[in-house]
Each structure stands twice: as C-alpha cells, then as structure tokens.
C-alpha cells in the first residue's frame, strides 16, 4: 500500500495515465459501445437513487426498469469483450457476427420479460 499522504496525487496521475492509455489503445467501435455502457450505468444509478430517495413503489416496475438496464449493460459488456480483438483466442467459436446475433437475441428475451414484468 502506498503511504497515505501521497495517495491522492498518485491516484490522479494513475487515472490520467489510464485515460490516456484507453484513448490510445481502443478502437472507435469499442468506444462507441463504451459510450452506450456509460449511458446505461448512469441510467441505472439514477433509477437506484430514485428508489432509495423517493420511493420504491411499485416495486415490480422499479425492478423491471433496473434489471433492464443491468441486463442490457451486461449483455453489451459481453458483446464488447466478444468483439474485442484482444480476446480473439478466448472466443474461438464466437465470431463478431455471431456475437452480435447473440446480443440481439439476449436483448429481445430480456426485454420480453421486462415488458411482462412492468405489469
């Protein structure tokens, strides 16, 4: 562990380098996906805050909305890791096209249940 006094500065530099590395190493396609992921994350946080601060009634509607964002988030994240060229040898049997088809199917099933659950 780093000593406490120097931790904040180191953190900021670390995050800066991370941001730089990310910008340099990531293709535009993946950045696009990441933007969507970021949006979903914000949406999820807003819903969660609403649930805690205002009301969780009706609970099934909250759950449906929240799990649609979470579900879409993980499906998109899965798509991202499947199409990421770095992971090519991990996903031998999943081509990018197949990954997108999987993604579409998963999303359809997910939103079918979300729609059913909204009540």
């Amino acid at each position: 562990m780093a000593p406490k006094s120097s931790a904040p500065t180191q953190q900021t530099t670390a995050i800066q380098t991370l941001w730089k590395a990310y910008n340099e190493q990531t293709s535009d396609r993946l950045k696009f996906i990441d933007a969507f992921l970021f949006f979903l994350m914000l949406s999820g946080i807003v819903q969660f805050l609403y649930c805690i601060l205002v009301t969780n009634f009706p609970f099934n509607a909250f759950l449906a909305g929240f799990s649609s964002t979470v579900g879409q988030f993980v499906l998109t994240a899965s798509l991202r890791s499947q199409v990421n060229p770095e992971n090519k040898n991990e996903f031998k049997e999943v081509s990018p096209e197949r990954a997108f088809a999987d993604f579409a199917l998963g999303s359809i099933v997910l939103h079918f249940f979300v729609y059913n659950f909204l009540g």
Binding site: M1, V74, S78, Q82, A99
Partner: protein, 790 residues
C-alpha cells in the same frame, strides 16, 4: 505398430465416422425406449392411475387447466381446500408441470388425437425421462466424449434413484424437473466453454422453466454461482466466464420473478443472495481486468487489488446489515434445515414428519444407485486428473449433492445425475483403455509426445467393437499431458501397494508408453465390466418392478399360490364418500390424505398436503389426539361431517394413522403445549403401545378409538391382534359417543365416521347415548360388509 486383434483396414475415415454417428443415434433411441419402458411397470401391474398424494393435486389442477383454460387456472381460488380458509391456487403452485401437460394435451387435440388428460399426466414422467437421458448424454459429452455420454444416458435411463420419482403415474414436479436441471447445467457448461451469450440465454430460459416447475430450482441458483466463484478463486477468471454467467444471471433472475409463487424472493431472500453477490464480484473483477489491460503500473495494480477487497468487505457488511434490518429474509426453514439438521425437528415438525425428509441410510444409496455408487468416486478422481473448467463443476456438484442426499432421502434425486455422469466417465475410460487395440512396445525406450498421444483414449461407442481412433490433436495432446502428469503424484500415495504387487515405483522416470498387452488382460476386464453392467440391469429391473412401481393408492399383495391380490380400499372408500355424502360435506383427515380426498372424493377437506398453515394442521392433530368430549367442539366448530382414518392393523399396512399418530401429537403440542403432551401417550416405561398396557390418554384419544372401534369383535372372542404393531388389542374395545361409524372398507384400511349433530333434546351426547343403549339394548345391529382375512 502392433495391434492386439486385427482391424479392418479398408475403411475410409468418413465411413467410420458415419457409422459411429448412426450407431450413436440408434443407441440413444434404444436408451430412450428402455427408459420409457422400464417406467411402465406401474401401468402394467396395476392400471393407468395417478399415484401417491401430491400428484393427485397436480392432476386436479391440470384438469382445471385443460378444461377451463390457462387464465381461469391462474385465478383459481379453491374454496374446498383448507376449509374454511380456502386456497389461492394460482399463486401458490409451481405451474410448470400443469402448463406442460396442458400444452401437450392441446397439441394432441389440435392434431385430432383425442387423448384423455389423465393419460397425458400418467405418461408425462416416462416421456420426460427419455429427454433426461438425452440431456445427460449432451452434458457428459462435454465432460469426456460421446461414448461416456451414451453410458451416462443409459445409466440415468434405468437407474432406480431417478425411476423412484418418475414412474408412470407419478405425476409430480420432479418428473420434469430433472430434465430441466440437466439441460440447464448443460447450457451453462456450453456457455462457459464457448463464452456464448446465446447459450447463456438458453440456460436462463430453461432456468425460468425450472423455477416454474420445481422448488428445487434453488439448487441451480446456488450451484452455478458456486462454480463461478470457485473458478475465480482458482484464478481461472476469463471473459468467457463473464459472458456466460452475466447473461444467465441477468435474464434468468428477471425471468424467475415472473412466477407468482416466487415473486420478489430472488432479490429478497438469502438463498438467492449468493448468486447476486457472485454477479457483483464478477463485474468488479471484469472491470479490473479491463483496466489492467490498459495500464500495467504496479502501483495501480495494488490500488485495484485493494479496491476489489474493500468492495468485497463492504458488500458483505451491507448484506449483513440488510439481513439484520429484515429487508432480506433470512434462510427459509425448509432450506435452513438442510444445514442445521436438528432445526426442523425442533421448530418445524411438519417438515420433519414427512418420510421423504428423513436422512438416508446406506442401503438406500446402494438400492438406488447400485454399482454406480462406488464407480462415482473413481469418476470424480478422473475429473481431477483433467481438471478443465467443466470438470470443476462436476466435482462441486458431487460434493454438494452427496451431502444433500445424505441429509434427505428425496434429494437422492439430485445426486443421481452426477453419479451417472461421473461413473460413466470412469467406466468409459476403463473401456477405452482396454478395448484400444494398440499394443505398447515391451521395451522401455521412450517415445515422442506425439506418438504417445495416439495411444490415449479413443472414442468407442457403447456397442461398437472396433475402436475408432479419431485424431483431434489439440485435445489429445492436452489429455495425454494430463494423463502423463497424473500417475506421478498418485504413485506417491500408492507406492507401497504397487511395490507389494511387484511393480516398481516409477517416480521421476521418463514417460512410459501406455497400453495393455495381450488379449487375455483385455478380455477379462471387458467381460468383467459387461457382467457388472448386466447385473446392474437385473438390479434396476427388480428394484423398479418391486419397490417403486406401487401407486400406493392401490396396494398389492401376493396370495399363497403366487397370484396377485389387489387391495383397493382407498378408492372404495373415496368413491363411497363421493356417492353417499352431500357435496358440501366436510371431511377431516390427517393432512396426508387431503389431496386424495379432494381428487377422488371431491369433498372439502380441512388440511391437505400443501401444509402451508401450521395452526390448522395442529388443530386437526389436537382433535385426533384429545378425548372425544374435547374433540367434539373442535369438530363442530369446523363444520366437520365426516372423519376419515387409515387403519392398517387388520392386514398389516404399516403406513397407517396410528403409526403417524405421534407426529400429530407432536405438531399439536407445538401449538397447545398445555393441553397435549407427548409423554402422556407413552406407557410409563416410555413405550408406544396400543394393547392393554397403553396409557390412559392414548386409549381415550379420538384416533385410538376410531382405529380400534369394534376391532376386537372381528375376531369372535379370540385374542385380537394388530398386525402392524404385533400387539394384542384389548378384548373390550373402545366406545364412541360423539361419532357414528359410517363406512369401513373391505380390508379396514379406511374407516369413515360421521360426526353426530347436537342432541335434539339438548342432552350431551354421552348421556343421550347411554340412555339410548339402555332402552334398545336388544336392537340388532346391521351387519356391515366386512370379513377377516386370515
């Protein structure tokens, strides 16, 4: 290369492959046929009838669904159960089973096949067992290869541990649940192996089906996260794991909440929290991996590691806080009793009283699994030898399921699939090794890796005699490397044994060729294995036909000349109720018979096998175990018209109410500890007796009186004998003042009593009875149709 026996040389690889796949299909078809056929003993020996207790409710619900449609079924309120409370059926059942048969029924009718809904229900379990065999084949194929898969399918097709709950007529949730269990696991393994969101989604859909079908879905809910967690802890995290698990969990959890009976439990109870926690952990780890791929500074890595640990601790703390605050329900009783085995007996006697919730003694394991039970550890060891991700799943499954099966007899059902898979892996490895025609070289000259690999296990089919060496290099090399690495550590453990048999300990020597010399060694092992397999088949057939094919609604006994004698007392009595009593007559019985009365006699019952209301059951227990005077107000308050007891003393039917009586007392005592006390029902010596020495409380209890009322008369002055308890019944039997004997079935198994209405003159019934008897002592009693079977 020498071979032990001649191989045909003029075959092209394509022919071999085609023949093998054809044989596989034929073998699978035959296995399905065998699985279905061996479950039909019940139909052949008896008739096409629904078995036992719970299936009667499922059958009744399915009939409602088939005749009135799904919407009506969903909103069905049943006023005749749990009289006078009623039961909301739609929200308190797992509808998967009924929906499945409803779909099959409607499908067949759409094809203009006018099949009776009863036959759909009776044959559903055998049909699904064929599908289970197929799912097990697919699952085992992922573990080893097709030949192991075929063996596993054959095992699960006929193994008694699974047949016990899936014979024709056993129309219960487990009938379809085991197929769903295996198929969900197969999809999960596939999703993990390929990193495919498609299989994750399919796994989620089948998980949803499973949630809709059986309460045991919690097993999947915890097995898959446990597997994922172990993989992470072993440092085997991969993006494939992330994709598979996330897609399964996100869709599956949302889907499982669509079932009304489950409701919000997946986000509110502790059983489901493990899955959520692993889901969260996986997100953090995946994010960490992503960041690490971009930055490789050591400092950052440390920071990352610390933040992951901190998040973990924080999450646990939040979970603890939520449980403490009561927002997350703690473990439910039924589930908790699996871990704390004394819990159920103390706090929920209803669960402890069910015979299938008893712990399992070893003969049951052997009866249900026979030689698979000792091949199973060998298979687990072989899984350790390769230790790919999917093998870890089998290992975890093996440990968890063998614990659960030891605690509860009914959970033998979850152990059976993994036993079949593991022992199929072991047995097919054995056969692969000994059928393989390659002769190793006698000398100890070392061979190159590539040559050694060819010798290792090659795919052979259960029925084919020619080995088919199918070269799939990458897999083979891995396997061979693992195989080569394996014996080194083991030889340490067993070195003395090997030395004792003349074999040198070969630690640190170069890799030897692997193979079997000569035909005799091969033949003896193969013959021996075939003998064991055929013994297994005989065993399974015997167990199935003798132990597991009784509908328990209809009993069978063997006459002296060996012919079968059918004892049909239950249906006789239920039909009597149906035809001789008003439609709204309330029948009180112990809860075991609630579903049967509702299903066959179509009369309202006080309690049934749903057991959701402990107090109501305890009320019935109290009425049964108190004296007539105390029980009468209870009966009248609940509008009881008839009381039904099961009595096996005449023909020796041991599952009768006197044997269950102590549970009634115990459950009643849980609610009214001042009025009902268990020790009072024992003799001062602490024995449970029904003869002259029985305690006074026992003799005065309503249950005792109803069971032995006029029993002694049957023996015409001879000593009356209870054949179940092997005790002599007092010569002067009990008398009844508040009840009238209404019906007693042919073999006295079912006895029905009518509750008298209040006396018209306002006397209490006891004195009225005494008065009546004094007056009309000479009245001849009508002779009911009963006879002693000696």
């Amino acid at each position: 290369m020498t071979t032990a026996y001649p191989l045909p040389s003029n075959l092209s690889p394509a022919t071999v492959a085609n023949t093998a796949s054809l044989l596989r299909i034929v073998a699978l078809a035959l296995i399905s046929g065998a699985a279905i056929a061996s479950r039909l003993f019940a139909v052949i020996n008896f008739e096409s009838i629904i078995h036992e207790f719970d299936p009667w409710f499922n059958y009744r619900a399915t009939r409602v669904l088939a005749s009135q449609g799904f919407y009506e079924f969903w909103n069905w309120f049943d006023p005749t159960a749990w009289y006078p409370l009623g039961r909301v059926v739609g929200g308190t059942v797992y509808p998967g089973l009924m929906a499945t048969s409803g779909v099959i029924y409607n499908f067949l009718h759409a094809l203009n096949l006018p099949v009776d809904i009863r036959n759909v229900c009776v044959l559903l379990a055998p049909g699904f067992s064929a599908l289970t065999a197929w799912a097990t084949y697919m699952f085992t194929k992922e573990m080893k290869d097709e030949s192991a898969g075929l063996l596993a399918a054959a095992f699960i097709g006929i193994v008694p541990g699974y047949i016990s709950r899936s014979v024709a007529g056993s129309y219960d949730n487990e009938a379809i649940a085991i197929f769903l269990l295996m198929f969900t696991f197969y999809c999960w393994i596939k999703a993990l192996k390929q990193g495919s969101a498609l299989f994750g989604t399919i796994a989620a859909i089948f998980y949803f089906y499973m949630v809709a079908a059986w309460g045991g879905y919690v097993f999947i809910t915890n097995m898959i996260p446990l597997h994922a967690l172990v993989l992470i802890l072993m440092g085997r995290f991969s993006s494939r794991l992330y994709v598979g698990y996330s897609s399964w969990y996100a869709i599956g959890t949302l889907a499982s909440m669509q079932v009304p009976f489950v409701g919000f439990q997946p986000v509110k109870t502790s059983e489901h929290m493990g899955a959520l926690a692993v889901f969260g952990l996986l997100q953090i780890v995946a994010f960490g991996q992503l960041v690490r791929s971009h930055v490789s500074s050591a400092q950052f890595q440390k920071l990352l590691y610390a933040s992951v640990v901190a998040t973990g601790i924080l999450g646990t703390a939040v979970f603890g806080l939520l449980t403490y605050k009561g927002w997350i329900a703690p473990w439910t009783g039924r589930f908790y009793s699996l871990w704390d085995t004394g819990y159920a007996k103390k706090y929920i006697p209803i669960i402890a009283s069910v015979s299938e919730h008893q712990p399992t003694a070893w003969p049951s394991f052997f009866m249900d699994l026979q030689f698979l039970i000792f091949l199973f550890p060998a298979g687990v060891i072989l899984c350790f030898r390769e230790l790919r991700d999917e093998h870890i799943f089998v290992i975890i499954y093996a440990v968890m399921a063998s614990y659960f099966a030891g605690v509860m007899v009914r959970l033998m059902l979850t152990l059976t699939p993994v036993v079949c898979v593991a022992s199929a892996v072991a047995l097919s490895t054995l056969l692969d090794t000994y059928i393989d025609p390659k002769e190793p070289d006698t000398g100890d000259d070392t061979k190159s890796e590539s040559e050694a690999t060819v010798v290792s296990a090659s795919g052979t089919n259960g029925s084919s005699f020619s080995a088919t060496p199918t070269p799939t290099p990458s897999k083979k090399i891995k396997k061979a490397a693992a195989a080569a690495a394996a014996p080194l550590p083991t030889s340490g453990i067993i070195s003395d044994l090997v030395a004792a048999t003349g074999g040198p300990t070969r630690r640190g020597e170069p890799i030897k060729t692997k193979g079997i010399f000569g035909m005799d060694s091969r033949l003896i092992v193969i013959m021996h294995t075939l003998a064991m397999l055929s013994f297994f088949v005989f065993h399974c057939t015997w167990v199935t036909s003798n132990a597991y094919s009784s509908p328990s609604v209809v009993l069978a006994s063997t006459n002296q000349d060996g012919s079968q004698h059918i004892i049909d007392d239950f249906r006789e009595a239920y039909y009597w109720l149906r035809q001789n009593t008003p439609e709204d007559a309330v029948v009180m019985s112990w809860w075991d018979y609630g579903y049967q009365i509702a299903g066959m006699a179509d009369r309202p019952t006080l309690v049934d096998n749903n057991t959701w209301n402990n107090t109501h059951i305890a009320t019935v227990g109290k009425a049964m175990s108190s004296t007539e005077e105390n029980a009468y107000p209870i009966l009248r308050k609940h509008d009881v018209d008839y009381v039904l007891v099961i009595f096996g003393g005449l023909i020796g039917y041991s599952g009768d109410d006197i044997n269950k009586f102590l549970w009634m007392v115990r459950i009643a005592q849980g609610v009214w500890p001042d009025e009902i006390q268990e020790p009072n029902y024992f003799t001062p010596q602490g024995e449970y007796r029904i003869d002259d020495m029985a305690s006074q409380t026992m003799k005065n209890s309503l249950m005792y009186k109803m069971s032995y009322y006029r029993f002694a008369e049957l023996f015409g002055g001879n000593q009356a004998m209870d054949r179940v308890r092997q005790q002599q019944v007092p010569k002067v039997g009990p008398t009844l003042d508040y009840l009238d004997e209404a019906f007693t079935s042919e073999n006295w198994i079912v006895r029905i009593y009518q509750v008298k209405k209040e006396d018209l003159l306002g006397r209490d019934l006891k004195s009225a009875n005494a008065f009546g008897q004094g007056k009309k002592r000479k009245r001849t009693k009508p002779v009911p149709r009963r006879r002693a079977i000696v």
